[in-house]
Symmetry: C2
Subunit: 498 residues, 2 copies
């Protein structure tokens, strides 16, 4: 076999893997959008079969010997191929950690857990969710032990979503955040609160759907490559740069909820849609880590979407679709959209207190994975942490421990990337300001210069570079949370006038 032949075989192999992931992704997406309830039974069967086949394809003798051959010829490989080899080696280690049957069981659990979580959340019934959460935790610990026995299990989880992230780094990061966010929250609570009546106007769902289309157009999403669906918990899923889906959830009396979901998920989508075509159907397609991903989504949601200029931009359409909003000014809407107030629901949290929601989850996960917890006491633990960090009383599990889908999807270790991503985004902004007038660009309605900046420095690389490389390429400096804290302080001063 020549290196050229091996590279062709690698392309074939990764196309096959793409196909299985694509099929399973569509089955999952369909399961959360258009599918009837009882479909979870056949979907579980199919997911089990496909996951088993995909596992075999990735781990069989042929795939392993191909990888061995490429590793032997590492010095003849271009950078992209070498990165593919490295990612495959990492993935193989993960797949080989447990036997096929365990892997199939895990995939079937993922399907079941999602359905159970949906129902449990609807009924605010934690005991219903407890057994699957227990299984998720057990699986996570098992994977951690098998894949990275040298690490603390929760460090394994963190690294999965943000390569290189550790508890030590998180502790430092969150400590810095706490130091300035906590007093800032206090100042904000002592200040006069913006009137947010404009955020509570009745905005018919049918009209909000139209509004979503406008928002997607405003941030520059090519609709021939990206569709929007409706789910309980908004998410983004990508099948290729030619097919990305975002979802949202509408509330008639809280249109900002869906508006910021659409912009947030739209940021994820733009990242996926902006990958270089040459990475399609290979292991290098798609965003590199969740931290980088969240830095895009939260950049669009908060830094662009909650800016005075962006709100001014979408205001006329919002008023056209919901005339009652016309009673309020752009300034009132801007202040309402930036009102900071400790609250119960992470996805609806303001920019300032958001990190505190993440800290609750960070503490919970750490104990769930590293320690030994009594499953029955998790809701109490959750509620106590909300009291401590945010000063709020959790009235029920629906608005407490059951609010997020992440744990049902085994996404333990994911949450810290939201806070990190927010902080990365603020540092991008500081860098962007060096070459363009951010406010003026947003106000113009043509966000292309901003998309180009992100596209050239981040999006186009997809997974072909490590996150540190990408961050450095974007920021041209080491990551420093001070940009984020300065940004938050500036925002709060502007909104609250202190």
């Amino acid at each position: 076999m020549t290196v050229t032949e091996a590279k062709e075989k690698l392309n074939e192999l990764e196309l096959r893997e793409f196909a299985y992931n694509h099929a399973m992704g569509i089955l999952y997406y369909d399961g959360t959008t258009g599918a009837p309830k009882a479909s979870s039974i056949p979907r579980g069967k199919t997911m089990g079969v496909l996951a088993g086949e995909a596992y075999k394809i990735s781990t069989d003798k042929e795939a392993v010997s191909l990888l061995g051959f490429l590793r032997e010829h590492a010095d003849e490989l271009d950078a992209d191929t070498l990165r593919r080899v490295e990612l495959r080696e990492k993935g193989l280690k993960e797949l080989n950690a447990v036997p096929l049957e365990t892997y199939i069981e895990y995939t079937e659990l993922m399907n079941e857990a999602d359905a159970v979580w949906h129902e449990a959340k609807e009924k605010s019934d934690y005991p219903m969710f407890e057994p699957v959460l227990k299984k998720v935790i057990d699986f996570t610990k098992l994977f951690a032990e098998k894949v990275a026995p040298e690490k603390s299990p929760y460090d394994y989880c963190l690294d999965k979503y943000e390569e290189g992230l550790t508890m030590a780094k998180c502790d430092d990061f969150f400590a810095k955040l706490k130091e300035r966010i906590v007093p800032l929250v206090k100042r904000v609570q002592e200040a006069e609160q913006p009137d947010d009546a404009c955020a509570k106007v009745f905005f018919p769902i049918e009209k909000q759907r139209e509004f979503s289309d406008i928002l997607m157009e405003r941030i520059g999403i090519p609709r021939d490559r990206c569709a929007i669906g409706e789910t309980e918990h908004p998410f983004t899923t990508d099948f290729s740069r030619n097919d990305v889906r975002i979802t949202t959830h509408y509330h008639e009396d809280a249109f900002l909820s869906s508006m910021y979901s659409v912009i947030h998920e739209g940021g994820h989508a733009l990242y996926e849609l902006g990958g270089d075509e040459r990475f399609s159907y290979t292991g290098l397609s798609g965003g590199v880590t969740m931290g980088i991903h969240e830095s895009q989504s939260r950049f669009f949601e908060n830094i662009i979407g909650r800016s005075r200029e962006f709100i001014g931009l979408i205001y006329p359409d919002a008023v056209r679709l919901c005339p009652e909003l016309g009673k309020y000014s752009v300034e009132q809407l801007y202040r309402a959209a930036n009102k900071a107030e400790p609250s119960l629901i992470r996805t609806e949290a303001d920019e300032l207190t958001y990190a505190l929601h993440i800290m609750v989850r960070y503490d919970m996960e750490r104990q769930m994975i590293n320690g030994s917890v009594n499953m029955k006491e998790l809701p109490e633990m959750w509620n106590a942490l909300y009291k401590e960090y945010l000063g709020v009383t959790v009235p029920d599990d629906k608005r407490g421990i059951l609010q997020d889908s992440h744990w049902a999807g085994a996404g333990i270790g994911y949450f810290p990337s939201y806070a990190l991503g927010s902080a990365y985004g603020a540092q991008y902004l500081a860098k962007i300001r060096e070459s363009l007038d951010f406010e003026k660009t947003v106000a113009s309605g043509d966000l292309k210069p901003i998309r180009d900046w992100l596209g050239d420095r981040i999006w186009k690389y997809a997974s072909s570079k490590k996150p540190e490389w990408i961050l450095n390429n974007a920021m041209e400096a080491p990551f420093d949370p001070k940009y984020y804290l300065d940004y938050l302080e500036g925002k709060m001063k502007d909104v609250y006038g202190f």
Copy 2:
């Protein structure tokens, strides 16, 4: 290997096949509903891979030797297993007819053809569709030649959708239909036409969506196992008895169009949903032939849905959702829904002239497959036949040869099953009347006795019996189109009062 072990292996094999079909089915359904346009590119890649894998699973040495073993032990097998063996043998003959590469090419063509047809129809651009239609015809001829060289190619096509159907039988059937339908159309055209202003009221799409839910409930569709989507051309697709999807297409100023699509597809869905649980994930799941399938859909659409009693039943909800309808009486709506008038679009054709639309397609297909046609002349041929059979002038290809999705899906030989199904349905009705008061049952709003009759005699058998067996089980007599013609005559007399 014991017979018991072989049966277990058969279950495993058919579960794997189910999984691939399920995944490809969801990809297709998603492609026609929520997917963005450019998704056809990655979908084509994935379909190609999955179809190739599924082909291998069904045709590999292991599957072939298992089948051989079961055939050798045929006398030890129960009836269900024997039927599975027979169906597998038939399927294998089909799959082995062409090499894997041809099969993959064909699957990729199916994906491409659907997208091209959608665009060509939208633009009313037959030349855009011509090259893929040519490929579809070539593939169909190739399959016919390889699988059933002893038959005329179009007989092979007919048998594919209705086991045992031939051109000879179709000629006889259509001749009988022509003999009585043509003079009936003439009488109807000479009579005073019902005023169908009530069918043209403005009925907002949002309200029609609500109406669809009511219609599905009225005919007794369990919504936890069946969802509804929106597509250009309505269809039904089943993944298992726990997951069936129907689709419809809304027109603001022609609510009957979607109403009868929903009831028609609902009839297909009920058949799929009514299969015995034990056939799930085996080769015996799902409806047996298209003729039997259409006998369910058209029974619900026309015999139930266009009855005076059913229209009376849904009238109050229709008026609630579209108050303008209240200006018209149930009787006016009944007559409008049964107005017979030669027209352009098959799916919107009335019950009486419907068979004439089928005859056009039957003649076209026969020539396309058996003869050698000039592809460029197909629209002219279509238009000439519409003139001859229906007396109407086709204004453009969108409302002519491009109106149906069937040919883009290689469904050549499918159309006659619509007319046959309609005729089967009328004979069921005659039989049903022996044991219950049909009109009274429909008027009561509780269709369970009718569903039970169909379920016990037809639905529950899924594909475990041949269509002749099922027809005989239902009708307790040989099939005779006179029931259909009597039914049509009775209906027209009632509506037109002659």
